[in-house]
Amino acid sequence: MKKDSRAQITRKESWREYFLLSLESPAIAQNAQPGQFLMVRASVDTHPLLRRPFSIFSAEGKSVEIFFQKVGLGTRLLSEKQEGDTIDIIGPLGRGFTVKKEIRGKHSALIGGGRGIAPLYFLSQKLKAHGGTARVFYGGKSVEDLPVRERFEKSGTTLSCTTEDGSFGTRGQITEAFEAELNNGFTVSRIYACGPELMLKKIAEIAAALNVPAELSLESVMGCGFGACWGCVKRIRKGQEPGWHKICEEGPVLKAEDIIWELGNND
């Protein structure tokens, strides 16, 4: 984990409310694993005060990318940054997805709802590099919520898109599309997902019913991102003990069976 206060934006892509920034930060790029995140300072001012967490979209050579949705002040300020600007980032942070040797020759399903697609591109590349195959389920409200689908297509990843309004791909919820494929005989030996908590909870149920291991990337309000504030806790099992554990250290990626879905966990 390193602080790089001068990571330069070398490329920026934007869609209505989504943005992709490439940042030059060799030390952080070299050590990044899929599912890990960065803490990004959106402004040097005191408002917004805290850094904002973003999954690592990709890491290659000297560059890391982040993909984000504009939802408030911090993401708005970040969206206004231009190529050539520098930003202050800390990373790579947290525990990412596990990709073991046994993945060779196996099928994985990667399920990303909305901005939850962010960590899955990097993961799909790593799975391929390990000789596994990945099918990506990408869902959103409408076609505009699926801006990075071309990145997956270009890399030759099988992609199944879902929109709630039917403007692109299959109409409906991403979890319904995934279940429909399973009913059609699609088999997986591993599930990885990121997105809204209700979606993740549903996927945890599907995975449990199939008896397939699933890893889910959670979100939480983070004060620091590196274990110092105790602000980011969720109810999870560590060993046998359920407790409030720090998502920035134990996660953001957790085994589905370690997550305790209960009130107060669904913020």
Binding site: M1, L49, A228, C229, W230, G231, V233, W244, N265, D267
Partner: protein, 305 residues
């Protein structure tokens, strides 16, 4: 060579910058970012005798230039701290201060008694802002008599310098500081967080599950500074200034108002190297102002009558 060292009673600090409790983890979290030896010292997360669960999330909400937290003093308890963390921290030559919590007076005393027998701790900071379960959740920091009583008891069992950390949620903080002094506290640190809240207007619900939390960060600095000045002007024991410090200039304001040292809190989250940057900025200020000892700045506020 500028002398940045200061004395808090018998506690000697190599520079006046400490990391504040609850914002610096147990110290080790910051080793990827800095050499802890360069700090004046650091105060670890508040410790009760037993481990504590803390509050359900969301525990944090950001407001204009501020952060409201309702962590609920989650922690590993004093035994695990001594077993797992303290041995690692002993490798550092910097003042390690333990923030001591309690649900009642006896718990404060038992935490200190337990820690007394362990090497490598420079001082105790008494967090008297913990709700007292026997007194309907009232915390000692809110009443002069309760402050006096807990400080007196802990002073009698403590083998180390004792810093009493004051709450700003009182009408007369000087009165509380005087009680701590009278009870034998070696120093006072102020302030802890300001009781605060925030509301989601769409759901009409409080943004924190706990409804209330403590406000910290730049938003509180002017009020905290005023309190530090008032207290430093009225008591004889050293004062440590806390609240919204993000830069060397912020720290200098506190020193000029009479604080002998400062604690940096929320700033550690935003910039984990913050404490060291502040030390460097203090040093540079001394250089440009021809000051050879940082102690010469303390309490130099020039109030034109």
């Amino acid at each position: 060579m500028i002398d940045l060292s200061v004395n808090i009673g018998s506690l000697r600090l190599k520079n006046p910058v400490l990391a504040a409790s609850g914002t610096f983890g147990y110290g080790m979290e910051f080793t990827p970012f800095m050499d802890l030896n360069e700090l004046g010292g650091f105060v670890v997360k508040g410790l009760y005798f037993s481990p504590r669960e803390g509050n359900p999330p969301p525990r944090l909400v950001e407001t204009a230039s501020g952060l409201i937290n309702a962590i609920g003093l989650q922690g590993i308890g004093v035994k695990r701290f001594c077993k797992e963390i303290l041995p690692q921290l002993r490798a550092y030559q910097t003042a390690l201060i333990v923030n001591v919590c309690g649900e009642n007076e006896e718990e404060y005393a038992s935490v200190v008694e337990y820690l007394n027998s362990h090497e490598g701790i420079a001082a105790y900071e008494l967090n008297i802002s913990c709700p007292n379960v026997e007194k309907g959740g009232m915390c000692p920091a809110l009443k002069p008599d309760l402050t006096y009583s807990v400080v007196k008891l802990v002073r009698s069992v403590s083998s180390r310098p004792l810093i009493t950390k004051l709450s700003p949620n009182v009408s007369d903080i000087v009165e509380i500081a005087l009680s701590a002094q009278e009870a034998g506290s070696d120093a006072v640190s102020l302030v802890n967080t300001f009781l605060a809240m925030a509301v989601d207007v769409d759901t009409k619900q409080p943004k924190l599950t706990n409804v209330f939390g403590g406000l910290s960060g730049p938003a509180i600095k002017p009020i905290a500074l005023r309190m530090v000045f008032q207290v430093a002007s009225q008591i004889n024991i050293p004062v440590i200034g806390i609240g919204g410090i993000m830069s060397g200039e912020d720290a200098l304001e506190y020193l000029i108002c009479g604080a002998k040292a400062v604690e940096v809190g929320t700033s550690n989250f935003i910039d984990p190297e913050s404490c060291l940057t502040i030390v460097q900025e203090l040093e540079r200020y001394c250089q440009t102002h021809g000051i050879s000892r940082i102690e010469d700045i303390i309490g130099t506020l020039d109030v034109k009558q």
